[in-house]
């Protein structure tokens, strides 16, 4: 494969597909987990980890690299899959997800998993952490970015908006938040459970530079992330319209697969659809 600078869009798309296969294998092996929200953001994760972010396992001890916080901690499977593919730990370990004594907890843990920068899982907390990390990078004089992937359902947490206010107040233009706007949460459609729209206007009113993209279109993902990286003076949020369960027909836009593992038959079909071996 090419280096991050040269990797092509089709190679990144293949990477995203590989991450999706990992996700299905991991959650099937674990017997529990959250496939929907991992599949929706697999393209964004692939773009960040295989191209956009400057990072490597050898430099975990240094702050002089790009950083990533997964605020929607339940998307741990796709995060672990990307970390393993980047060499933070062996890919064979992915199948230990959620098992006793595994380094791969149901939700990310900074103290257990190589490459995981912050423990998350209780929603709405990641952006505050990203802000603090961005401040630290500024104090250290490092021109580095902190990417924070949020869920749309967690936008209902008040702390998200406290953090939004803080980042704008301190002009944290090294923070790039991405909202995985798949439109579904456990109890149903976000607009039925707790209306978020007009979401872009909300962020704009809080002082953020707001971008939109189709978060399942690799070209758009790369272009939008590049634009966000170049923005100065205020933090940037990218609202990424995505399909929950993307890539597996019966999981797409199906809230039932927010937090449920596939059964044997479903697993086989999912793997076939993702072009993988069962």
């Amino acid at each position: 494969m090419n280096s991050p600078d040269q990797i092509s869009v089709s190679e990144l798309e293949a990477k995203a597909l590989a991450l999706r296969r990992h996700v299905i294998r991991m959650i099937y092996a674990a017997g529990s987990g959250h496939p929907g929200g991992s599949l929706s953001c697999a393209d964004v994760i692939a773009a960040l980890f295989f191209k956009v972010m400057d990072h490597s396992p050898e430099r975990m001890g240094s702050q002089d690299r790009d950083h990533f916080i997964l605020s929607k901690g339940h998307a741990a499977p796709v995060y672990y899959a990307a970390l393993a593919e980047c060499g933070y730990f062996p890919t064979e370990e992915l199948l230990t997800l959620r098992k006793l004594h595994s380094r791969l907890q149901g939700h990310p843990s900074r103290v257990k998993t190589p490459g995981v920068e912050m423990s998350t899982g209780s929603l709405g907390q990641g952006l505050s952490v990203a802000n603090g990390l961005a401040l630290a990078l500024r104090l250290l004089g490092l021109d580095r970015k902190v990417y924070c992937l949020c869920g749309d359902g967690e936008m209902a947490e008040g702390q998200v908006w406290e953090a939004a206010m803080f980042a704008a107040h301190y002009h944290l233009d090294n923070v790039i938040a991405i909202v995985d706007r798949n439109g579904l949460q456990i109890d149903g459609r976000t607009e039925e459970v707790m209306s978020l729209e007009p979401l872009g206007d909300k962020w704009r009113a809080f002082g953020w530079h707001v971008l939109f993209m189709d978060g399942n279109d690799m070209w758009q993902v790369l272009d939008t992330l590049a634009e966000a990286k170049g923005h100065k003076g205020s933090p940037t949020v990218i609202i990424a319209r995505t399909v929950k369960g993307k890539g597996v027909s019966f999981m797409e836009n199906n809230v039932g697969f927010h937090g449920k593992a596939p059964n044997a038959k479903e697993y086989e079909q999912a793997m076939r659809e993702l072009g993988g071996e069962v």
Binding site: Q63, H67, I69, S109, R110, V111, E117, M118, S119, T120, G121, S122, Q125, G126, L127, S128, V129, A130, N131, G132, L133, A134, L135, A136, L137, L139, L140, G158, Q159, E162, A163, M165, F166, H169, Y170
Partner: protein
Amino acid sequence: MEAQRKSYGRALVDLGRARGDVVVLDADLSSSTRTVEFKGAFPGRFFNCGIAEQNMMGTAAGLAVGGMTVFASTFAVFATGRAYDQVRQSIAYPDLNVKIVASHAGITVGGDGASHQTMEDIALMNALPNMTVVVPADGPETYKAVLAVAERHGPAYVRMGRGDVPVVTSKEERFEIERAHVLREGADVALVGTGQMVAACLLAAEALKARGVSAKVIDLHTIKPLDVEALEKAARECGAVVTAEEHNIVSGVGTLVAAALAERYPVPMERVAMQDVFGQSGESDELMQEYGLTDREVLAAAIKAMERKK
């Protein structure tokens, strides 16, 4: 008499001078918590978070992920109650170098009333794995505690009151987080005080002396890790123990001491604490009397505990 938070302000400035990695956050109470001293000395390393304690704790965690040693301050009721989940999830679980130093703990907040008088903060922080919990007795001990938690890895909670408290320790005395501080040796009863109740224990010990009773006084400044050795030694030496705290009796310091002694060396024990009620407005000293948190109650508890000795 001296306010603990003034010592905190001084300690922060000294720390800031010695260490470039020290960053301080506050939530719109910097003139009360005295983090304003640090802000004046090192404005580039001070960040006001506004009235948003949950975000402050998360931001503190992020700064610590970035390699900083972070002090986050506000009133104790907000630091431990309002932001409990952030402290749990983003600070304690990932074991980050965030030092939560909170002022205005306990009933001595006074006029603000029960909404601001936390009687449960020690219980909340103590229940979190990885957390160090320190409750200094006075100004000099607060100064030393702040330096000590800065040196110690991981999350810490330091509890301070609002008002002036008697000075019962000195600058020169050694302070070790792992070791309870024995202020007075004795053989008949051990008075184990926490925070400003240490001063009440010393007064009670004087009153006991006048009655021919020799009381040992321990300043239990660190609740976690608990110095179980010192407590067992006191129980063996004296055969009766009294605890005194400005905190709820439920899951407070007395509970912890009782549990430790039950396992190690059970002796008759009495606990002076808030009796599982919310406080009210009033002057600090009026409230301490109203809720039975003075040397008189410590004295009465000591006599009761000694009577129960076989």
